[in-house]
Subunit: 218 residues, 2 copies
């Protein structure tokens, strides 16, 4: 068999096709066979050469989206025209407003059946996003006086654990009403740290994403 | 083959032996074969009749401990001599002080390799302990004026997610120093809800449990 000279092209093709099918049919209702059928003659072996399972493909799709998101996070983190607290607010606003969020909530994987995906999200959140993006902002906020805490690492973790995991309707299968109530407690929690950074626009957007997820569940 | 007339006795024997081995060798270093070897002639088939895997045995061991813990939680929840806030403080104190905690932190399973165990803990925490034990206490606190929140369900979840999951050194592999810092942020978070309920004694106990876990990791 001829060696594939452009493996990254193959991988990207697989991820594009898989993502489109996950969007259309939902993750749970897409099979590896469906993905192969849309790959224009690429063999089953070619897929399994790159991915062991459908779950692996989902993790790779998610990783690609995370890489895009990280560019946004880095851009906000490095804005010198904003205080630490303002950067934190901007990062929340931009994260939640990204159009790709609609896609993620449409794919709506069932995290309870996808341990690898849950661990991947926990890892990205606690070991990548918290130390690399939120922590530097909190440290900046401490030095410019806009954020008060003695434990910036732990505050970064607490904020992202609640925002990305607990408030994620896909993980805890929240209704719109529950999302609203979680958001209100999250807001009260942040205020306890002097962080008055969430607003009604974010709340509306969270409810919108929850509705997309609830509608997409199949 | 003769039917086992006392399946619950067999199950309890398996769990007793497994727990003792997990304590002595650590969960990761105990095999199903080790458990069988200590069951006094019980066959491999008898184990697999009740449990599909070593992970299943661990979940059952944990469930049995959870059932014991729930009796304590219910007793504190139903104490009419304490305000809601005092009951919450008592529940934290008694939970962390239980001697069986030393055993749990000695078994020290690696949650990253045990998806079922992590989901089981998340389920017990968010869908059992939060609504059945913490929520009634918070509601009591609202009615006696010792706790202020409009969203008791979500506050119950937030408190247990941070206490049982984030501050659990087995899940996030925290050092003593990290456990201390998480505890300080947890304390500040609770104060934002008017809950001045954690104290130095709890902090010392948390550090002690973290040290047991760090020592037991093999």
């Amino acid at each position: 068999m001829a060696r594939n000279k452009h493996p990254e092209k193959t991988v990207n093709l697989i991820l594009d096709v898989a993502f489109r099918l996950f969007m259309e049919k939902g993750y749970e209702h897409t099979s590896i066979q469906d993905i192969i059928a849309h790959l224009g003659g690429l063999s089953k072996g070619a897929i399994y050469h790159h991915f062991k399972s459908k779950e692996d493909i989902l993790v790779a799709v998610t990783d690609r989206m995370t890489a895009e998101s990280n560019q946004m996070l880095a851009a906000v983190r490095d804005r010198s025209d904003l205080s630490g607290k303002e950067r934190l607010k901007t990062i929340f606003k931009e994260s939640i407003n990204r159009p790709v969020q609609n896609d993620i909530f449409t794919v709506a994987p069932d995290f309870h059946n996808n341990a690898k995906l849950l661990f991947s999200l926990l890892h990205d959140t606690m070991e990548e996003a918290a130390p690399n993006y939120i922590l530097p902002i909190i440290k900046q906020g401490i030095s410019d006086g806009s954020i008060e805490t003695e434990y910036p690492e732990q505050l970064a973790e607490l904020i992202l654990l609640t925002a990305n995991v607990w408030m994620n309707p896909m993980i805890f299968d929240s209704t719109e009403e529950e999302s609203y109530r979680k958001f209100m407690i999250f807001s009260q929690m942040l205020q306890g740290f002097g962080l008055d950074i969430v607003d009604d626009e974010m709340l509306e957007r969270l409810k919108e994403l929850t509705a997309i997820y609830q509608k997409s569940k199949r």
